[in-house]
Amino acid sequence: MRQALLDVRRLSVRIPVEAGTLHAVRDASLAIGRGETLCVVGESGCGKSLTSLAIMGLLPPGAVRSAELLSFDGEDLLRAPRSRMRALRGNRMAMIFQEPMTSLNPAWTIGEQLAEPFLHHGKGDRRQARDRAVELLERVGITAAASRLVQYPHELSGGLRQRVMIAMALMCGPELLLADEPTTALDVTIQAEILRLLARLQREMGLALLLVTHDLGVVAAVATRVAVMYAGEVVEEGPAEAVFGAPRHPYTQGLLRCIPIPGETPRGQPLGTIPGSVPSLVGGFESCAFRDRCPHARAACAEPVAERMDAAGHRWRCILEPSG
């Protein structure tokens, strides 16, 4: 059994709404080791972002988190007081968000924002913070790093801002980095550069990287392991080659058929689709949440679905026998 830096078992997030309780995340189990990249992939509303926020203890007010286990480097985060979470966040575990323009403070210079977590966590004095900031800006590929410190976020392009966000997350030398759609707002050529940067930093620093995305192309390019979420559940999880090469869950299979591939997908012919739409998560489920849209659905799918796992550590929630 590999030693996981982050171990999440049966995580649930419930949000009270007018019509009852929204079961936004249901029994999600994930684990990441040092040096691994786990990609959590799924469509809007599948619970992928809430899962990462729940791990960081940053859920919106009202949302209720519960889990069997939530441990970071052997420490129980479920029972950690707020002061302990504050000491960990931005320090040993850091987060990067999708839209750098809204997560950077427009009234602060880049230098002030980079220094803040460093000073807050008592890593050193202002001079050391400045040196570290310059070093990291250079490391994330920003030229004339020292002169950037006095600039404001609006003076930078989107790609540069995302690099600043990454540098800021790395200021305290985190062991775990959570990135929520870090390249979604960027152009494709910039996206490739930012992903290469993340992969390089991860290798150099031995980071455990949890990357949340809707883009299976991004997943295929960077993931060691993949967790596919649907309607709040992890419906499939395993090594990247296994999940892409022999997807076990009909949702994963359908998702892969929806994506056009240049030079391969025949032109002028319809793409594969997943009929119907995502069910309401208010009230929760006993059955398989995908059965209304599944081409293989049968009566037994109305029963609770147990998780299955093969010898290679590929897990999935479906009663179908794997074919081939």
Partner: protein
């Protein structure tokens, strides 16, 4: 031979911009001389990254903006001088964000029927029938007629936007990133719907996207834009199999495919997107280009035919072809 449905003739669009009250007024050239044709019944895919001018060009084709120089003809008629009622029968838009392009206070029926009302077409009963027919055509049911946009999913809203665009039966539809805000499974549904409607109603699309994979799937011609100019144009098979412009090659290399084990692409681009207020001399792409030589900074390459219908604006285009 009949004239193309859409003719974009040497279109230039400049904006005067001013950064700060006392700063001097400067000129930003968003579109720097674009000529493109779209034959009737075909789909012209326009690809490029943020700031390349593709959306400005779309607005000019829609008549929402006027070109500084050049003109756009639809069905042989100059768009800029048409009355908006006439124009709206020729060309209609489908925008990226179905959350902001639909009025949240109006029902689906009112939204889709609005163009008929504006044009004074039919009696209320006839209009209701037309709306019901359009709803069926875009894969929605009569039960959606009374719904409001907030009650619909993103995919359903985009279907409403498509129905509204098509109810006047325009010849040309400008689709500006129509699936970029949608989830992949919904994107596939909407792309399939657009293709089906094109075949069924004999429509032509100007299809704008940053996603090369999507464009190659739907387009019968593709044009790649960089900093206000078309740098490569041709049929999608040729452009994607043998891209002649280094920028097209970089874009193509950046497409991440859902296949593990390929690692991350290296588009081999130096620097970042140039400041459009100070466009580079010569070929606008030269500061980032892996092939650049001094000539590229001095002399702007024209959009020359590489092989027949395949054109690329690069001094090395002919080399790449062989």
């Amino acid at each position: 031979m009949t004239a193309p449905l859409l003719q974009i003739r040497d279109v230039v669009r400049r904006f005067g911009v001013r950064r700060g009250v006392f700063a001097p007024r400067r000129t930003l050239t968003a579109v720097a001389g674009v000529s493109l044709d779209l034959p009737r019944g075909e789909v012209l895919g326009l690809v490029g990254e943020s700031g390349c001018g593709k959306s400005t060009l779309a607005r000019i084709v829609l008549g929402l903006d006027k070109p500084t120089e050049g003109e756009v003809l639809i069905d042989g008629r100059p768009v800029a001088s048409l009355h908006r009622l006439e124009r709206s029968r020729l060309v209609q838009p489908v925008f990226q964000d179905p959350y902001s392009s639909l009025n949240p206070r109006r029902s689906v029926e009112a939204i889709i029927g609005q163009p008929l009302l504006v044009h004074g077409e039919g009696t209320p009963a006839e209009r209701r029938d037309r709306v019901a027919e359009m709803l069926g055509l875009v894969g929605l049911g009569p039960r959606h007629a009374a719904a409001y946009p907030s009650q619909l999913s993103g995919g359903q809203r985009q279907r409403v936007a498509i129905a509204r665009a098509l109810i006047l039966r325009p010849a040309l539809v400008v689709c500006d990133e129509p699936t970029s805000a949608l989830d992949v499974s919904v994107q596939a549904q909407i792309l399939n719907l657009l293709m089906e409607l094109r075949a069924r109603l004999g429509l032509s699309y100007l299809f704008i996207s940053h996603n090369l994979a999507v464009v190659q799937l739907v387009a019968s011609r593709v044009a790649v834009m960089y900093l206000g100019r078309v740098v490569e144009e041709g049929d999608p098979e040729t452009v994607l199999r043998t891209p002649a412009h280094p920028y097209t090659r970089a874009l193509l290399a950046s497409v991440l495919q859902p296949r593990p084990g390929r690692g991350l692409p290296d588009p081999q681009l130096a620097g970042s997107f140039p400041n459009p207020l100070e466009p580079p001399s010569g070929c606008a792409f030269h500061p980032r280009c892996p092939l650049a030589v001094p000539r590229c900074a001095a002399e702007r390459p024209g959009l020359d035919p590489a092989t027949g219908e395949h054109r690329a604006a690069c001094h090395f285009a002919a080399l790449a072809e062989t």
